[in-house]
Amino acid sequence: MIDKNLELFDCGHRACGGCGAALAARLVTKAAGKDTIVVSATGCMEVFSTPYPETAWKVPWIHSLFENASAVASGIEASLKKQGRTEKVVIMAGDGATFDIGMICISGAFERGHDLTYICYDNEAYMNTGIQRSGATPYDASTTTSPAGKCSFGNKRPKKDMPQILAAHGAPYVATASIAYPADFMQKVEKAINTKGPCYVQVHAPCCTGWGFEGNQTVAIAKLAIETGLWVNFEMVDGKVVKAKKVVRKPVEEYLKTQKRFRHLFKPKRQDAEIAAIQAMADKNAEKYAIDIKLKKE
């Protein structure tokens, strides 16, 4: 059971006001409880939580490098097992650390079958070093390494399907979640922790600084991602999708319009073909995960 008054991620951290990743850290520690060891990869969450000698974590926490959180966690898990200890090992890493640079260590840890929970807080770019694109950056988002301009509409590649990659490793539990649905997110974290073997939870965590919106809109924007079908909350057990959140879908532009990273799709002139391409991606998601709630015609 999740204790709503339990706070294991403390005040005084240095995240931007309204940071989705900071909220994710709080919710994860609430769901995981005190008998947890957290391993962080380099990135915003590591930096804002722990500018030495300060730390916001009230559970044992370790940081080594950008790329090796899964290897560090593997070692901790193996040692705990040898000692007969029961603490749970939880990795918290950004999308750059997960989708890109940490891939080899993640693949190794999942293949070896360690009893770990890997949580990727996905803010869809390398935020801590100034908004460079990653394998998680969505199509047409403008970043400092995929700038929109005369010759480009921004990031040219669609988002990598990381959950599917880890399911293909034989992960017993893989889920996606959103900070806009905290109860669902915490339940998924709890389920991942209580499932033996390597489990993966990917949580959508909007970044006001990197995406370009006011900090009070973080939760509203995360909700719009779900409502437009651009982010799907689902659960996979033993490689099969067993549940996906259904919605009455809104057009994708309601989401795109809220963020400066997509501003070039509307100004100086509306880019109908690009918006249609993004709508097609949402339609494909909706079909793949069967999320559409069909309203009866009047």
Binding site: R14, P53, E54, N216, T218, A220
Partner: protein
């Protein structure tokens, strides 16, 4: 600064950093309109909204950054953002 072995730090030592000084707008809670649903407690990225002894909810202004998520997400209109006077 002397480093501890393994760069250890006291759990929750971040509380030394009083982030309330970052605030430009301040969330003001209206007890009459608040239904104690607790959504602001759940969604605050600082974890600084808590239950008071009288059973109301209140932010800790020592740490509240004034992001405005609580005011935006309150299902009623119990939280208003007011310009900070320092």
């Amino acid at each position: 600064m002397a480093l501890a072995v393994g760069c250890r730090a006291r759990p929750g030592k971040s509380r030394d950093n009083k982030t309330g000084s970052w605030r430009v707008f301040k969330p003001v809670f209206d007890r009459e309109k608040c239904t104690q649903c607790g959504l602001c407690m759940t969604l605050c990225p600082e974890g600084c909204v808590h239950e008071t002894e009288e059973g109301f909810v209140a932010p800790d202004y020592t740490y509240c950054k004034g992001c405005g998520i609580c005011a935006e997400e309150c299902p009623g209109t119990a939280i208003a953002m007011k310009q900070e006077e320092k």
